[in-house]
Symmetry: C2
Subunit: 121 residues, 2 copies
């Protein structure tokens, strides 16, 4: 079973975390979605944590997990903190593939998305 | 002359601000770009500020400006701070249309972008 974990920073503002949860549902119901399970987790300030999010997917039957960082820039969070959090679960389940995809801001379609957003009302 | 101003939060980390500048160049050279000028500005921690970025576009001949917030969630920065900064320049040039577009995270193509990013290597 293939699963996707969307990892956001997390906010003290509940509405921001709920935006991530709503986006997660939009990804799950997207026609291009090829994952059997899509969930979200937060680096800090909100639940579930990244390890807890991964463990829940694994306990639910995930055998192959992709982590996608919902971050705009390649700072310490993306370069160090997220791999470190993922590493805790890799250590618990060494045979289960968990791959961290490039962060959102690295998308080569971001320029086109900004142009579309500028035209949006 | 139509111009686009990409507004990012700004970071103490120079590389993060440079990522926004590189994205701005990618938008300017994108085949779908219909703006004569594309620039970036920062809410804090980096230069130029939003008012300075807008003034530079206006002094360069911009007659119609779209501001697009490069932000993932609709927090105080998007709801209050960016409109307030833009408002300073609107007050100086009341006849020049400056429109603030929806922030990036509000894009209805974000779910598809996350799926594509999950598949990226």
């Amino acid at each position: 079973m293939k699963a996707l974990l969307i990892v956001a920073h997390g906010s003290r503002r509940k509405a921001s975390n709920d935006e991530v949860r709503a986006l997660t549902e939009a990804v799950a119901s997207h026609p291009d979605n090829g994952y059997q399970k899509v969930a979200c987790a937060f680096l800090e300030l909100a639940e579930p944590s990244i390890p807890d999010g991964l463990r829940e997917l694994i306990h639910g039957g995930a055998q192959d997990i992709t982590v996608v960082p919902y971050f705009l820039s390649a700072g310490r969070h993306v370069a160090e903190d997220i791999p470190e959090e993922v590493g805790k679960v890799t250590a618990e389940f060494p045979d289960l593939p968990i791959r961290v995809a490039p962060y959102l801001g690295a998308s080569n379609t971001m320029a086109g998305l900004l142009l579309a957003q500028g035209a949006a009302g």
